[in-house]
Amino acid sequence: MDILNAFVAFANFVLVPGLTYGSQLALGALGITLIFGVLRFSNFAHGDTMAFGTAFVILFTWWFQSMGISDGFLPTALLALPFGIAVTIAMVLGTDRVVYRFYRRQRAKPIILVIVSAGVMFVMNGLVRMIIGTSEKNFSDGSRFLLDPKVFRDATGLAEPLAIKTTQAVTVVVAILCVAALFWFLQKTRTGKSMRAYADNEDLALLSGINPDRVVMVTWIIAGTLACIAGTLYGLDKSFRVFVYFGLMLPIFAAAIVGGLGSPLGAIVGGYVIAFSELLVTSAWRKIAGYILPDGWLGDGLYQALSTDYKVAVSFVILIVVLLVRPQGIFGGK
């Protein structure tokens, strides 16, 4: 019985939030890693692309809500998502046309493109602030819980509650669907194969007749779509604030680098590694230890390795350790 309680407490405070947060990071890191693989630069503007897409999803959600359209049990934002994705794709294709293409034609060094993307980041950040404002926006609706903590407690008779929010379930399901679709696209379709060929060896790909403009365009479309989905899921599950998305850059980059930049599989694993490390290190284990340890063994401490204030520092440390010990990442990126 006590083991059960310990497991439920673990699931409630570590497993479920970790899976959700990891999925959100993985989707973000996938976008980073694709752009790095194909376009060969680290896109610092990715966090703000997520914010941009989410902002439009929110606007469409509000519009739908005002017209009385809803998804019933699921959040209305899922209906608004395709529209948000379309706007995001238009935006990233637009920036590519106006900004990145110029430097690509010049065969600019990757470091220059990184700086350029930092510039795009600031412009986009300001744009989102102008469009939707700086304050917190809430756009989650539909049923709040898939598994209500009270219902769970009453049904099982356990002391510990287990809650699964609808948004958490939606996040994991959507993430799985996206990843499956992406891998199918990269492995099975002609365009996907040409993208991988272009990423592996640009010159050889050009020689074999692959149209580089088309590859770049498809990459941006996929990256924009993933950014919009990742941002919307994060905003639905937590809350939307432009500044927070700016700060999401660090864990997302850490996830992409831990997995190996350029490796889609690595980005997914990296996302979960970062999410669970943050949670495991900053979680207070007192409750779980209390169920497992024999009576009287439990002291007064919280059994917390680091205060939750240091959550971001955890991804920093992992990032540095990986760069020092295995710079190519777990799955051997570039």
Binding site: P149, P161, A163, K238, F243, Q304, T308
Partner: protein, 394 residues
């Protein structure tokens, strides 16, 4: 041009040469800075009290105000403004300063060296209670420590044995959480954890996990309702970690129940709010004033009371010397005596002249405790159907 300059110098010299029964009072509050939206009302309220005394003709003095900018945050600027008031303008008392930090600086570096009485309408830091003041410092605003005691009382009456406590990582949150923890522990309660949360984050589930691990009957959230405080409550409900919350003043506002929904019902707390009869009177007086102001704006009532107390004390002591009249302030503010409400300052002056005791109630229901600070009135509330329902005033 030269003549014009000379003329204007002469004019200011005349204006400065006050007659013997002209008394200047300083109003040292942040006309610029983070609380500038409040200070116009505060100053207008204090000046209304002076105008009322002057109009009654019962005082031996005519009071004029000298405004100075404390900036609320810049201690050096506040001290310079205070020093100028005392040495150049010759004020006999200061209404101010406003924010706790500058108030402490002005008290130590201007008021004490010069021996000037200061009554702050808005400094709430518990630290001021223990500061050396030579009996010169009073405040018509309650210390945050008082809210801690009130909250501890409420928790005890509800039979809460242990609380988890989280506070906004700010001076306000930290001070209040300390006050609550100290008062509650002193009354025999157990604080299982006292942890900070940062405002402006998207996700508070990690913070809530730590709070849940420590456990407790309820979770007391000493934060801001539009910031981390709301996030903490939402995350607690989402994980089923806590279902009842203790809500201090920073968590009171209609946006909170609207954002959280019915799950917040049954949570309770307290907020500084006066049910004093004088509040309504001053509100009307503020509307009818030559320069209208909102008495319901925070600390406006306290400003009126601060000015009134200084003038009444001068009258009672028969002296404008701060060292003499400072002794009278506590007597006038507290029972026994005839209760005095706003608009009755003329009557108060008469009663004092006749030797009758008065109990100055003013707009905020003044009662000074300890080293001369307001006991404050707090509204105990419980949330029912998304509304803050008043339980009682204490």
């Amino acid at each position: 041009m030269k003549k014009l300059l000379l003329a204007s110098v002469a004019a200011t010299a005349f204006a400065g040469a006050a007659s013997a029964d002209d008394v200047k009072l300083g109003i040292l509050i942040g006309f610029t800075g983070p609380i500038e939206s409040l200070t116009s009302h505060m100053a207008a309220a204090a000046e209304l009290a002076m105008a009322e005394v002057n109009a009654s003709g019962k005082s031996a003095h005519t009071f004029t105000s000298v405004r100075g900018d404390s900036t609320c945050v810049d201690a050096a600027a506040a001290q310079a403004a205070g020093e100028r008031m005392v040495t150049a303008e010759g004020v006999k008392g200061i209404i101010g300063a406003d924010c706790s930090g500058v108030t402490r600086a002005v008290l130590q570096n201007v008021a004490r060296p010069n021996g000037i009485v200061m009554i702050s309408p808005s400094a709430t830091s518990p630290a001021l209670t223990a500061d050396e003041d030579d009996g010169l410092f009073f405040r018509t605003a309650p210390s945050d420590a008082r809210e801690g005691e009130i909250m501890a009382d409420i928790l005890m009456e509800k039979g809460v044995k242990s609380i988890a406590l989280t506070y906004s990582n700010s001076d306000y949150g930290k001070g209040l959480a300390e006050a609550i923890a100290n008062a509650y522990t002193a009354k025999g309660g157990v604080v299982t954890i006292n942890a900070a949360h940062d405002d402006g984050k998207a996700d508070y589930s990690a913070e809530v996990a730590a709070l849940a691990a420590a456990g407790g009957d309820i979770l007391v959230v000493a934060g801001y309702l539009d910031q981390g405080g709301k996030g903490i409550i939402q995350a607690s409900l989402d994980t089923g970690a806590f279902s009842t919350f203790g809500l201090p003043g920073g968590m009171v506002g209609d946006s909170l129940p609207a954002a959280i929904g019915p799950a917040l019902d049954g949570s309770y707390g307290q907020v500084a709010q006066s049910d004093a009869p004088g509040a309504a009177i001053l509100t009307e007086m503020g509307k009818a004033n030559a320069t209208p102001f909102e008495a319901t704006s925070p600390y406006a009532m306290e400003s009126y009371d601060a000015a009134a107390l200084i003038m009444l004390a001068m009258h009672a002591a028969g002296s404008t010397d701060p060292k003499v009249y400072k002794e009278k302030i506590m007597d006038l503010a507290n029972a026994p005596g005839e209760p005095i409400l706003p608009g009755e300052l003329g009557k108060a002056l008469e009663l004092i002249a006749a030797g009758t005791d008065i109990d100055y109630q003013g707009a905020s229901g003044v009662e000074l405790i300890g080293p001369g600070e307001s006991a404050g009135r707090y509204k105990e509330f419980v949330i029912k159907d998304g509304k803050y329902e008043t339980v009682t005033f204490r």
